[in-house]
Point group: D2
Chain length 266, copies 4
Amino acid sequence: MKLVAGCSLHFEVQDESPLVLMLRPRSGAGQWIISETYDLVPPVPVVEYTDLYGNLCQRMTALPGPFEIHTEATVQTAEDIDVDPGAPLTLVQDLPDDALLFVIPSRYCPSDQPAISKKAMEIVADVTPGYDQAEAIRRWINTNIAYQYGVSDATTSALDTLQHGKGVCRDFTHLGISFCRSLSIPARMVVGYLYDLKPMDLHAWFEAYVGGRWYIFDATQTEPKGNRITVAYGRDAADVAFMTQFGPMTLTRMDVWVRTDDGTDE
Amino acid sequence: MKLVAGCSLHFEVQDESPLVLMLRPRSGAGQWIISETYDLVPPVPVVEYTDLYGNLCQRMTALPGPFEIHTEATVQTAEDIDVDPGAPLTLVQDLPDDALLFVIPSRYCPSDQPAISKKAMEIVADVTPGYDQAEAIRRWINTNIAYQYGVSDATTSALDTLQHGKGVCRDFTHLGISFCRSLSIPARMVVGYLYDLKPMDLHAWFEAYVGGRWYIFDATQTEPKGNRITVAYGRDAADVAFMTQFGPMTLTRMDVWVRTDDGTDE
Amino acid sequence: MKLVAGCSLHFEVQDESPLVLMLRPRSGAGQWIISETYDLVPPVPVVEYTDLYGNLCQRMTALPGPFEIHTEATVQTAEDIDVDPGAPLTLVQDLPDDALLFVIPSRYCPSDQPAISKKAMEIVADVTPGYDQAEAIRRWINTNIAYQYGVSDATTSALDTLQHGKGVCRDFTHLGISFCRSLSIPARMVVGYLYDLKPMDLHAWFEAYVGGRWYIFDATQTEPKGNRITVAYGRDAADVAFMTQFGPMTLTRMDVWVRTDDGTDE
Amino acid sequence: MKLVAGCSLHFEVQDESPLVLMLRPRSGAGQWIISETYDLVPPVPVVEYTDLYGNLCQRMTALPGPFEIHTEATVQTAEDIDVDPGAPLTLVQDLPDDALLFVIPSRYCPSDQPAISKKAMEIVADVTPGYDQAEAIRRWINTNIAYQYGVSDATTSALDTLQHGKGVCRDFTHLGISFCRSLSIPARMVVGYLYDLKPMDLHAWFEAYVGGRWYIFDATQTEPKGNRITVAYGRDAADVAFMTQFGPMTLTRMDVWVRTDDGTDE
């Protein structure tokens, strides 16, 4: 599908604030960026660099006063995500080197915590190792964790979410990743846009490496859904914050939209 | 200056032809990509990857029949390029690791050929080592090599250009790079757009590492000119071809434009 | 000083166990590997790769039965570590791109936890921003955290250590890193060898980026001490485990040694 | 086989000379570095970095007077190289991104020269595309190019070698690479050690990407021979010079050895 996705951020900047943004999707295997706009009001100098995971990061310093960021991309996306029930576990010895990073614990995915691995073992007790384990995890989260705003914040880890039983897409994702890693299945966080997400917002989901490749899993959805736009990959939200600020500035308004190219279905 | 730069390529494809394109400028220290369009007619699947130098490369396979590529970017550019007469030579032992690559010879810049280093020594005979050497080289080429179409082709090296005394921007650039490297000054090729270039075309120039940083040198111009958009960096034209094709297809038409954002000065 | 440093690991392997080891120091700015031995008994196939941080990682699969790893390196080290009281804070906007990674929280360094930043602010209350802050943090830990075995394990985070007031070099390091990051000072973990460490073991310390470069800080020591051999860098212990195992195997014995080249001072 | 391979370089240094060396093999898929020695007499500070291809490079500055480098490694090597007659051509569209670099021409492998592609077409006229083409090229060179010292130098390209019909391992390799690339088969240069090479010296051969992987081809040998130690990969000799010097120093003596671990068969 040809999608138009974007976001607007409005800030009130109290004092010079260095910022790192990740708001530029890259063309890749599953998506082609047909056109893109990235506008700063007022304009400030920006340097773009690529982080360790290959994400495009934009560095700038916001100046005191109002500051706005407007980005929009027209992207050719895949209608469906690949699913592959029964795909076998990829043994650790067969993982590509660059997948190994995604089996170790990270800030919000403490997969080394006994409570995480204990629960993961329960969830996959009778499940075929591999794709079906990741899917069982995804489904368990979708069924057992309540989607609820206001119960988690930027410091909430998957362990917290497991204990409280509530959270938003970020928390669902952290929990899915943590369960997978505790079973030695590489799992990584993806942030981006999802068509027809309700309510519309920047979104997060995870990918697990099984059957020799990465597959998409979204614990917030009941069914597999395509038409996703990946903006960044990382170990968890620490790596893929859409914005990291280092100074006093307040986000006063944020709008996110994903619509089809012909203007319908916002 | 806010520039709108782009190009259109029209092909007649005889048989399935894999292509690698480098037509997507990246935001960086000297330029900010405000918006961008990259359209393929008819659409074909594309994979984008980053090459060893950090350039964005688009891989695709063109199908038999007519095929068109349209790209355009709106870019905030620097009005002027930095010049720094007297900036000292950076000794080899003080070069950053990633500059070392640019002192060794490459396909079209055979800086190890005695004829190249002999002439370079002549040109810089009484010149202060460093920036002034690169500038003397640039000026010598601008004065002594005739800008002429049709005398060089895709296999022409800097040695050929030195012998024939004629060429286009690609050849001027290769010669400048070769002279610099023969003096142990790192030099790299840049391809991109230059505002107000006459006649308008995709352009090439070089950068030399002196005084602890890279400086822009353009041997096709009499004066330092800013408002450049870098699309790719590399050792020479082998690395930064805007298009590399691996099948039977014919470029039937190519348009390139650079204009100011308000539509003037195409 | 010319040091001979090494370790021997003896395992009893119950079943095929994939392993990733980081036991090979690399020559770098501060150390030159004169000679090195890396022996596996019985020999198994090994693949070496470089992780995201540039560390050399050795992948192998241990087979059932006894398994031993013996590594030793002769290394020219720096007698002293650089200290630079008064070196200013490097502002976030002036950090190199690859240092930004080291200001975000990680598994064992949850610098985003309010308890961490609150304590860090206390410690550096009247201290000049920059080097002196990192040194104040180092000294505070050295003074206030008790060096004690058996109170922490592989899941212990800096927050745990702050609460319990006890730990080993790994915990001291995580706490130092967390405090620094909460002040927007990039900090990274180093694992390696330290001459004259008592009791001898694999060691860990941290580096903080202030005054435009990385400096070494070791909260386990009362005075700055040189003659260190770096084996790996990373965000925290999750990145730089000297061994990550994915199967049932038991470490039955481990020896670590660092001695001068003439055989004294083990 | 367990091999001990090394070299000694003796220099007379007239004035401070920056050097870049590539003399440190890395453990990898086909070889395990059991032990290694790298000694400089007199010792000078060294910085090691990884180049774009992943090779370990040692930077140093030799001081006036005699200077010696002694390196030796004990390496577990593969007895045989893989051969796979009939393995199909990997189409350009199916190549991994990082193989694309090796189809473009380079300094000593001007595969874009019509004389190269014409001859390559002749050689593979009736040969199945893929492995058999690379093998036909290898055999043609082995049969038709005379192995002869003193007819080529550091500026000799594959085109020169094709015209003169003589050369050494470096030239054989450049020619094989050039032929392959002119057929859109990725080919790269390897430098290293070969057991039982006569006369013993640092050696060079090439690898071609066919049938979905890299295969070894050595045009200097009549039969496939294993027990190779790879020191560096690159596009051609410009990338993988075992030593690049930037100052006045003279190599007065060079010894190279490869023997079995038990001391026989030097």
